[in-house]
Symmetry: C2
Subunit: 161 residues, 2 copies
């Protein structure tokens, strides 16, 4: 979603286009290929705008999330946010070292056949966590990743984005 489109959409929903809101959205739009933490966002924006408050950042992130504009994920012990890189439904390979996400075409839901009657599906989450090629060189695998029940999976070729 492009910047102007994004702001139009916010406005249509009755939100005001404040300076802060625009700064926050602009930064998110500049980072659509990875998840960022609230802290990263604040630190980045406070360089130019020292008076920016935590409250404002969290309030905006949650507003955007609740309106479906941003995705939230949590890994390596931190909650992270991002604006989806593209509007179509998809899942990610997430690099736990740099937070970058790589689009995967596959969605598991069509193959799920054992949801019983009376159960309501609201959401699903499918993410593969690992180390991307860029981070592979020169970085160790973080402790938290090695220490948890790993999944032995053999993989194959070629991402996107």
């Amino acid at each position: 979603m492009q910047r102007e489109e994004f702001f139009e959409s916010l406005k249509r929903k009755g939100y005001r286009l404040t300076g802060r809101r625009k700064e926050i959205v602009d930064f998110l739009l500049s980072q659509t290929d990875r998840y960022i933490t609230a802290k990263e966002l604040i630190e980045h924006l406070q360089k130019r705008h020292p008076t920016l408050s935590f409250e404002t950042v969290y309030r905006n992130l949650h507003t955007l999330r609740d309106e479906g504009f941003i995705e939230e994920s949590r890994f390596a012990g931190e909650t992270r946010f991002r604006i989806p890189c593209c509007p179509t439904h998809h899942h990610h390979f997430v690099c736990i070292s740099c937070g970058r996400t790589y689009v995967m075409d596959h969605c598991p839901m069509p193959a799920v056949e054992d949801i019983p009657e009376g159960f309501t599906v609201l959401q699903h989450r499918f993410e593969i966590f690992g180390i991307c090629a860029g981070c592979r060189q020169g970085r160790e695998i973080p402790d938290w990743a090695e220490s948890r029940t790993p999944t032995e999976v053999t993989s194959s070729t070629c991402p996107k984005h």
Copy 2:
């Protein structure tokens, strides 16, 4: 995994079988069909053992997690833990109302074919969130669930556990 087996395994890894550890594991073993929060665990155990400290609970949960004995998930704004209901690899339908989990046979990993060369897969996460039949009656869908980008998925039949 049964109780004695569990304790044996802990002991083999060099951990002591303390009273607190056993109480914590026993409670987890009594709740293998759902995720519980650290708070729930503490509140339950403090009824009988008022001196139980937060420190001990968190330390044990993390020890158990790091040794691969318990799974961690986060939804509805809270971090939750559980001992897997069975040792084979599987994923869950998670009821966001009661936290109960229902085993699904399907694992999406074999169908994933677009992981590029140089990328290392460490883990994957596939969860379906929704409302189970039991909770469907008499409960509303929580706010947090309705407010996020929902996934429109049609489903079919019959869970386990």
